[in-house]
């Protein structure tokens, strides 16, 4: 049988995830350490699918209170009012700055949701051993990894609003518990993207080629 494509794995090699040095390893199970940077070598990231699923589910759970609990509590002489993330988007929209409302809507609502869905799709397709659309799925993964940081936007908006609007008794703004859950969603999805091993996408194709070769 012809060897279809030469990957590090099917050549008995492992690329270090830190310094990218390619090393020959005795066994895939116990690959040892990188001789250049000392990093523990792994053919594929350890328990990638399980870890990514756990982080993803935790993020999905946090996503609910992140959107329901207020992120900012505004206290004026008239009383205290809570603002959720969507409330903040609506406030920006009604106060006339719809481009910013759109930016916040994309960064705070659509990107986190899109990340949850995309990573779940990638995990399921890898678990089913799919060999289709590998390039597109890899591109989707890169996008998820690249774009994830932008959902931190709302955390920073809230931080600087709180920092600046401390004019009691006139008006003061306090952070709500929504911020904590929202920050948790962002951090958990970023960690999930980091723990997912994109090479798993291509492993499906490889076993396919082997079985039909």
């Amino acid at each position: 049988m012809m060897n279809p494509l030469r990957t590090a794995r099917n050549s008995g090699l492992v690329a270090c995830e830190v310094c990218r040095l390619v090393s020959r390893v005795a066994s895939a199970e116990e690959a040892g350490f990188c001789r250049r940077c000392g990093e523990q070598l792994e053919v594929r990231r350890h328990a990638s699918i399980e870890v990514t699923w756990s982080l993803l589910i935790a993020a999905a759970i946090c996503y609910v209170p992140a959107n329901l609990l207020p992120v900012l509590d505004t206290t004026t002489p008239q009383g205290t009012e809570g603002d959720t993330i969507l409330g903040g988007v609506i406030f920006l929209y009604t106060s006339g700055s719809w481009p910013l409302a759109l930016v916040v809507l994309i960064a705070s609502v659509m990107i986190p949701l899109g990340k949850l869905i995309s990573l779940a799709y990638l995990l399921i397709s890898v678990q089913r051993g799919s060999a289709k659309g590998n390039r597109e799925r890899t591109r989707l993964y890169r996008m998820v990894a690249f774009i994830g940081r932008w959902s931190m936007l709302d955390v920073f908006v809230d931080t600087f609003t709180v920092a600046l609007v401390q004019l009691s008794p006139l008006m003061s703004v306090e952070p709500g518990f929504g911020v904590l859950f929202f920050a948790a969603v962002v951090v958990l999805t970023m960690l999930a993207a980091e723990s997912f091993d994109p090479r798993l996408i291509w492993d499906g194709a490889e076993s396919h080629e082997f079985s039909h070769g």
Binding site: N3, P4, L5, R6, T7, A8, R9, S11, L13, A15, V18, C19, R20, L21, V22, S23, R24, V25, A26, E30, G32, F33, C34, R35, R36, C37, G38, G88, L92, S95, L100, V103, A107, N134, R135, T138, R139, R142, R149, W150, M152, L153, V155, F156, T159, F160, T161, V162, A163, L164, V165, Q166, L167, P175, V179, L180, A183, M190, P198, W202
Partner: protein, 243 residues
């Protein structure tokens, strides 16, 4: 063949197989396994400014900077100065009925802490202050160390951390966050951007420019190996891009 355990500077924790030594090892150093799809390929020598993309998944796996490499250090030093200014001068000032308030990045994180959101405060401090400062100081240290032919082992440790710091350094997101906060508050009071804001704007333009001109692969090539035994035979041809 069972892995051989080596006693050396790293306390004998490095294991590797015997058969990998010698013939193939040197060309292994120059081959690349795509981080996204694991395809093994040998990158041809590139023109300055050229890039090589993975034959299978299209990820950029190598770039040749040529003379552009020399831009990284001046850019990094400039960014360090602007970042310092951005963190010492107020980012924005608020005036309302004779009252005045201003804030910096550290001030924002501190206020979150004072208001009881300590975890969020730590996260903000890390992404907006600690990671960017760490990233820039590591980059400058590495670039200074790279002026010599051989780079000592601690440079490897710094390069390892550089990747993590880069992911969590979010100055551009912070910038947008401040702008949104400015617009929101502008409905209630007069808000003016401070000097810090302009310096901050300059910093977020400089940081991607540094990243583009930073050649980590070249640095890794010159870092002292943890396991210093250099393979004996530099001959042989290893991984040709598959067929």
């Amino acid at each position: 063949m069972p892995p051989r355990r080596v006693q050396g500077s790293t306390g004998g924790r490095i294991t590797y197989s015997e058969e990998g030594r010698g013939l193939e090892d040197r060309s292994l150093v120059e081959s690349i396994a795509c981080p996204d799809c694991d395809l093994l390929q040998q990158v041809p020598s590139l023109m300055p400014g050229g890039k090589a993309a993975c034959a299978r998944c299209g990820r950029v796996i190598a770039k040749e900077l040529g003379g552009a490499r020399d831009r990284a250090l001046p850019l990094a030093i400039t960014a360090a100065v602007t970042l310092l200014v951005a963190n010492t001068f107020p980012l924005m000032e608020l005036h309302v009925v004779g009252r005045f308030a201003s804030t910096t990045i550290a001030g924002g994180a501190y206020e979150m802490w004072a208001q009881g959101q300590r975890l969020t405060s730590v996260l903000v401090a890390f992404c907006a202050l600690i990671a960017p400062v760490g990233y820039l100081s590591f980059v400058i240290t590495l670039l200074l160390a790279a002026r010599r032919a051989a780079m000592p082992g601690w440079c490897g440790e710094m390069l390892r951390w550089l990747g993590h710091l880069e992911v969590w350094s979010m100055l551009e997101v912070v910038m947008l966050g401040i702008l949104v906060a400015l617009v929101k508050i502008a409905q209630l009071a007069t808000v003016d951007p401070g000097i810090g804001m302009y310096a901050f704007g300059a910093t977020i333009l400089l940081i991607p420019a540094i990243a583009v001109n930073l050649d980590r692969r070249e640095m890794w090539r010159r870092v002292k190996w943890m396991d210093p035994e250099i393979p004996a035979n530099p001959a042989a041809d290893m991984a040709a891009p598959g067929k």
